[in-house]
């Protein structure tokens, strides 16, 4: 019976294609909007977390803020202190950075100058493309050597062969540094664009460029399998009690990613809920067209009753038709919503993350709408008097 009713439903849709399409427009747009919003919300969340986590969700950065307490606390030895105080830390590296200008003969560029320990490259999984990263000796003896990030090397040495050459670094005055290595290209972490850095030994930097012992940045890597958010929280409470919350800033991609996820998630759920209201409007369109259909087919209903259809048979026929209508609307809406999502993600170059749950929600919701708004017209059809409907012109 369901199969026959479904066939009938599609036959009646086919008989009035334009009318069917127009009456379905509300459902199509409503479902399309819900699907598009949830899919775009999904894609936005993924693309934001992707960019946040590009440099590794396991990293936490601490930026001391100048002040008496900070100057007393945040020295190079604090790396070891922090590591022993907080469980789950793989390593802590000190890092000082500043803007500087660089020159090799006619080529000049502006980039970040970073003073880092000699084990920086190894710990950050950052390999040299040619030459090698400077050594511990270079650091101890505060040698004037440097290592170039990939982009800087490209700027200053378009023809390659940088290793062994000398470049000038301008801060307050020009100083000559020997290039000992060029690093391979590495994806940027949110606060560090590796390729646009020039690395010099930490001690060299402190002596030549900084002249204070306070560390600019602590780069913390949490150990594998540890929760970076929890460790970020322990570091925060430890530092708060030690120097107060005004003396430093802490930056944790994991925390940021979680926050972004929850914000975009809430936002897209909220928007989808608003869009769902349009489904109710679409349902009224369905009810309208079903009422028209029932009154047009009064005679058919009379004939069916004469042939032995019970009220429930007629009710089933029209309920099936209403549900079939809304399901068709739901499927068209899914196509529309997915199409919009594909177009928008292409336009803003996000990766498309289709929300399959939105498909299920959309189809389920359409069926409920069909059932709800089809009920009254179907009941009206079922209750028609057979004699009157047979004589209906």
């Amino acid at each position: 019976m369901i199969w026959e009713n479904t066939k009938l439903a599609f036959a009646s849709m086919k008989a009035n294609k334009m009318r069917t399409l127009l009456s379905l427009l509300g459902i199509i747009i409503g479902v399309g909007a819900v699907v598009a919003i949830l899919t775009l919300g999904n894609s936005a969340t993924e693309s934001i977390t992707d960019s946040i986590s590009a440099g590794g969700l396991e990293m936490v950065s601490i930026f001391p803020v100048s002040g008496q307490k900070s100057s007393e606390t945040f020295d190079e030895q604090f790396c070891e202190t922090l590591k022993s105080e907080i469980n789950g830390i793989d390593f802590v590296l000190p890092m000082n950075t500043s803007n500087a200008n660089f020159r090799n003969q006619q080529e000049t560029t502006t980039a970040q100058l970073a003073g880092v320990p000699s084990n920086y490259a190894e710990l950050m999984n950052y390999d040299a493309e040619s030459g090698e990263f400077f050594s511990q000796e270079d650091n101890i003896f505060k040698r004037q050597v440097c290592v170039l990030g990939a982009d800087v090397a490209e700027e200053l040495f378009p023809d390659g062969n940088a290793v062994g050459q000398y470049i000038s670094i301008f801060r307050t005055q020009a100083k000559s540094y020997q290039v000992v290595g060029v690093m391979e290209s590495k994806d940027a972490m949110l606060s560090v664009a590796f390729d646009n850095y020039v690395y010099v030994p930490y001690n060299t930097y402190t002596q030549r460029f900084r002249k204070v012992s306070m560390v600019g940045t602590y780069v913390v890597r949490t150990a594998d399998g540890e929760d970076p958010i929890a460790i970020g929280d322990s570091i925060t409470s430890y530092l708060d009690s030690l120097v107060g919350s005004d003396s430093y800033n802490l930056f944790s991609p994991a925390t940021l990613a979680e926050m972004a996820q929850s914000i975009t998630g809430t936002f897209s759920t909220f928007l989808a809920a608003i869009a769902a209201i349009s489904l109710v409007v679409g349902g009224i369109g369905i009810m309208n067209i079903m009422l028209v259909s029932v009154s047009e087919r009064t005679r058919e209903i009379g004939v069916r009753k004469a042939l032995g259809a019970t009220n429930s048979d007629i009710m089933g026929q029209f309920i099936t038709e209403a549900i079939a209508l809304t399901l068709v609307g739901g499927f068209l809406g899914i196509i529309l919503g997915t199409g919009i999502s594909v177009a928008v993600t292409n336009l803003v170059s996000w990766t498309l993350h289709i929300s399959y749950s939105s498909y299920i929600i959309a189809v389920g919701f359409s069926m409920v709408i069909g059932l709800f708004f089809g009920w009254y017209p179907a009941r009206k059809a079922a209750k028609l008097d057979p004699i009157e409907s047979l004589n209906y012109e």
Partner: protein, 225 residues
């Protein structure tokens, strides 16, 4: 009365209230139609002819009196029971054919079997048989709008036959047809009657009514003796 009565009506009344008036559409009618009869119900419009037909067709219940279809009293039947009874006992043939426009001939004939919950395979077999019986074996896949008036009425007759009903109830079956086609349809009814089918023909056409083996005349809600 004998058990071979298909329709047995005793003092059947049907009253309507229209505005402030009580309309006595049927005012004490006794009818007995036996199995295998070919009976016409005749009368002018407004005579109560249609009301009697609706009662016999189980589309309605009498206000009072006893109405038995195949020995079953319908007086206290629910709407659902009446629908089952129509499906099982009555085959309708209408003046305007009343075929379902979106369905082809075969599907139209299969419809009563659908409501009888007959399996799809058996539906198809029985409907094909019925269409062959009325001489439309080559028109099974045609939609009503692709058929002539006479062909449409044959499809309708096949649809009335397909459930093997106790009674075929035909309401002015030739009213929308030209004389020649009308005569062919009457011949078909006569053939079906000779095969043992009980047929009740409702008409205001005297000539047609007289062609049946027995006439029931009705005027002002009462039978004319």
């Amino acid at each position: 009365m004998a058990s071979d009565s298909v329709i047995e009506a005793v003092d059947v009344r049907k009253y309507y209230i229209v505005g402030d008036y009580l309309v006595k559409a049927l005012d004490g009618v006794d009818v007995d139609i036996r199995k295998g009869e070919f009976v016409s119900i005749m009368g002018p419009s407004g005579s109560g002819k249609s009301t009697l037909m609706n009662l016999i067709g189980c589309l309605d219940r009498p206000t009072s009196g006893i109405l038995k279809i195949d020995g079953t009293d319908t007086s206290d039947f629910s709407e659902r029971d009446l629908a089952y009874l129509r499906n099982e006992k009555i085959g309708f043939v209408f003046q305007q054919f009343n075929l379902l426009g979106k369905l082809n001939a075969l599907e139209n004939v299969m419809t009563p079997l659908l409501y009888a919950r007959v399996s799809p395979k058996e539906r198809r077999e029985l409907a094909t048989e019925a269409l062959e019986r009325v001489g439309l074996a080559d028109r099974m896949k045609h939609k009503p709008n692709e058929l002539s008036g006479g062909q449409k009425q044959r499809v309708a007759i096949a649809r009335a036959l397909v459930n093997n009903p106790s009674l075929i109830l035909a309401d002015e079956p030739t009213g929308a047809l030209d004389t020649k086609t009308g005569n062919q349809i009457m011949e078909l009814f006569e053939q079906l009657n000779s095969e043992g089918r009980t047929i009740v023909l409702v008409t205001h056409n005297r000539e047609l009514g007289m062609a049946c083996s027995r006439q029931i005349l009705i005027r002002d809600g009462k039978l004319e003796k």
